[in-house]
């Protein structure tokens, strides 16, 4: 197999610090993103061992997972969250790590602020104690989530021990139909792969439909790589990437920009290179997608009905579907559009960027949220919030009946008190519909921002054309 010219290998190979006999390779980390939830034990371990942060200048911290999205002028009500946030402040101060704290225009979801600052660049390695670090692969970077012990390892050594994953190509052919978004594409790919189809692999997304995506759309697709089990997702950088990076705070300038560009243009998979695994997905065949189950691979088109578990190919899939339908309180044969919702959440590292908010706001223009539906919009960062306000999007959302919140992970994982009540059903632009993900007993359906907005107006699942 000709593996020499793959994007993944090009990025991997340039980061190998050492290949000790009988041990995993030692990989250099160009940027380490840190947040309040998975770092306190790592800093503590570092201090107990008398070690220092090796490269504070290659480390950046923000608070996102359990920050409040409302009442920021008040002390944080949850004492555990307050302690965790205080701990991050203290650790950043002690170790000289730059922290974008609550109140900073650069505070926000870690995977939104990296790209926004220009800290995510082609050919880099980025890691974070968060599985959605795969987001940054949209720039042709190798980016993946790690555990807290590994966070400590990176703090101490700026490297990670890694066994090289396999390389998988996901070829997305054709063109996304009108009304279909990158989120629908991401969910369509996961349906094709299954939740574990990508385990042990780094995916390179290729093909015409991928090239046609904006950077924000590419981030949505790479973000959800982990939901197919993949270690990371990557997209080769091109003029769309360079256009996005040009002029950002940490992007190279002048002669360095030109040198960087020369290098970045070489970060493509060469003609004839082969992959360990390959899958093809047709973008043209997609419709807006709604998940019906308790893993992100369990989804159908909005035009469809809840599937009959007996029709699934294996006993494992049948059992999983039956269990999911019981948890979700749904019956086979019910039309997706006949399912009503209690809450709508627009936000998260999957769909909390400006383009996502614009798409949702456009659907809401001149319309109202259905009576009794609680609707929340949580920008991915304080800067996204400010930019949206400069365009008047906050007013569109508020006039429609949405709560316009401050930046954070919020109801994506329900750590900060923005949660569903037991039995409540949501349409959510986030990435996981696991049991209880948005609050104990809550029932989550993953959708695009446009479908979330239309659903908020209709009170049941709806496409923008329905309202």
């Amino acid at each position: 197999m000709n593996v020499t010219g793959r994007l993944f290998d090009k990025v991997w190979d340039r980061h190998v610090v050492a290949s000790p006999e009988g041990e995993p390779e030692l990989l250099y980390v160009d940027m380490h993103l840190v947040h309040e939830v998975t770092s306190p034990q790592a800093f503590e371990g570092l201090e107990l061992a008398g070690r220092k942060v090796r490269r504070p200048d290659l480390t950046i911290a923000t608070m996102d997972h359990d920050v409040p999205t409302i009442g920021l002028d008040q002390p944080i009500a949850d004492p555990l969250a307050a302690e965790q946030i205080a701990r991050l402040r203290r650790n950043a101060e002690t170790h000289g790590v730059t922290l974008h704290a609550l109140g900073s225009i650069e505070q926000g979801i870690v995977h939104v602020i990296g790209p926004q600052l220009g800290l995510t660049q082609p050919g880099m390695t980025l890691v974070c104690g968060d599985s959605h670090t795969s987001t940054h692969g949209a720039f042709g970077a190798l980016a993946f989530g790690i555990g807290t012990t590994e966070v400590e390892h990176v703090l101490a050594t700026q490297t990670l021990r890694q066994v090289k994953p396999a390389a998988m190509a996901v070829n997305v052919e054709g063109e996304l139909p009108p009304g279909c978004t990158p989120k629908d594409l991401a969910l369509g790919i996961i349906r094709a792969l299954g939740t574990g189809g990508g385990v042990g692999s780094v995916i390179e997304y290729r093909g015409a439909a991928i090239r046609a995506l904006s950077m924000e759309g590419r981030m949505t697709v790479c973000n959800m790589s982990i939901e197919g089990g993949a270690r990371a997702g990557m997209i080769a950088p091109d003029d769309t990437t360079f256009g996005y990076l040009d002029g950002r705070r940490y992007s190279p300038r002048g002669a360095l920009w030109e040198r960087a560009l020369d290098d970045w243009r070489s970060l493509v998979t060469d003609e004839g290179a082969e992959f360990d695994y390959e899958a093809t997905v047709s973008a043209s065949a997609l419709h807006p997608v709604v998940t019906w189950g308790t893993n992100p691979a369990q989804s159908v088109s909005i035009d469809d009905v809840i599937p009959e578990p007996a029709t699934f190919g294996s006993q494992a899939l049948r059992q999983s579907a039956e269990r999911a339908l019981t948890y979700m309180n749904l019956n086979p044969g019910t039309a997706i559009r006949d399912i009503s919702v209690d809450a709508v959440f627009i936000g998260s590292c999957t769909n909390g960027r400006l383009e996502d908010l614009r798409a949702a706001a456009e659907v809401l223009r001149g319309r109202k949220v259905y009576p009794g539906v609680r609707a929340l919009v949580v920008p991915g960062s304080a800067r996204v919030k400010a930019e949206a306000e400069a365009e008047g999007l906050d007013k569109l959302f508020s006039d429609a009946g949405f709560e316009w919140r401050s930046a954070g992970c919020s109801m994506c994982l329900g750590m900060n008190g923005d949660i569903l009540s037991p039995g409540e059903r949501s349409a959510s632009t986030s990435n996981r519909n696991f049991e209880g993900r948005q609050g104990p007993g809550g029932r989550t359906h993953l959708v695009s921002p446009a479908v979330a907005a239309a659903t908020a107006v209709a009170g049941h699942f709806a496409a923008p054309g329905d309202v």
Partner: protein, 206 residues
């Protein structure tokens, strides 16, 4: 962080016969606010434990050191807290036909054995424990085998050499890596100039 090494685990097993068990189920997000590495036992499988029939509620679970679970165990969030919760409860090994990548790495980091068996072996183990739920299961890290002696089962599991060595010795990865300090410094000296470095700026509004 260094931990005590594990050679061999022998105990009754807790059986979770479900595929795609995600880390949100293993330890719900509310528990992630803790700033310690311990104290997660009560949160382990928090929502599922409300069901009195759930395997972890059986008296046998108190002495179980081995968890047998369906395919793709530990998918979803990167939270190492899931591994800490399993360790806190007393588990030393998990047996499954597939582990999610980040979870597997976290297991080796924290000293929980991820014993990955074939689908066929998993099916035999599930069947044997359904027939005799109290049967002793043996996970031998040195030999990389999982056995139920009373059912005549002994099969290999896969675990990379380095991961096996670390689990047997309970080694501190950072100390091992710092032996390569010269290579790290040499690498740093040749990184391209255009790569970003973060400038100090933690002012509110900055």
């Amino acid at each position: 962080m260094a931990s005590a090494g594990i050679q061999r685990v022998s105990s009754p097993a807790v059986v979770v016969d479900r595929h795609d068990v995600d880390t949100d189920q293993i330890i719900p997000a509310a528990w992630l606010k803790r700033v310690e590495r311990t104290g997660f036992s009560a949160g382990l499988f928090g929502a599922w434990r409300a069901d009195p029939e759930f395997a972890l509620n059986h008296p046998r679970a108190q002495s179980a050191r081995i968890l047998l679970a369906g395919r793709n165990f530990g998918c979803g969030s990167s939270r190492e807290h899931a591994v800490w919760a399993l360790l806190d409860h007393g588990f030393q090994a998990v047996v499954s036909s597939r582990f999610a990548d980040i979870f597997r790495g976290n297991c080796v980091s924290a000293g929980l054995v991820p014993a990955e068996v074939s689908e066929e072996t998993a099916a035999r183990l599930f069947a044997a424990l359904e027939a005799d739920p109290d049967a002793a299961v043996v996970v031998d890290v040195a030999a990389r085998t999982v056995a139920i002696p009373s059912a005549g089962i002994e099969e290999p599991f896969s675990l990379a050499d380095y991961a096996r060595w670390r689990l047997l010795e309970g080694l501190d990865d950072i100390a091992l890596t710092l032996r390569h300090e010269d290579a790290i410094a040499a690498y740093e000296a040749r990184r391209p100039e255009w790569l970003p470095t973060v400038t100090a700026d933690s002012r509110p509004g900055g």
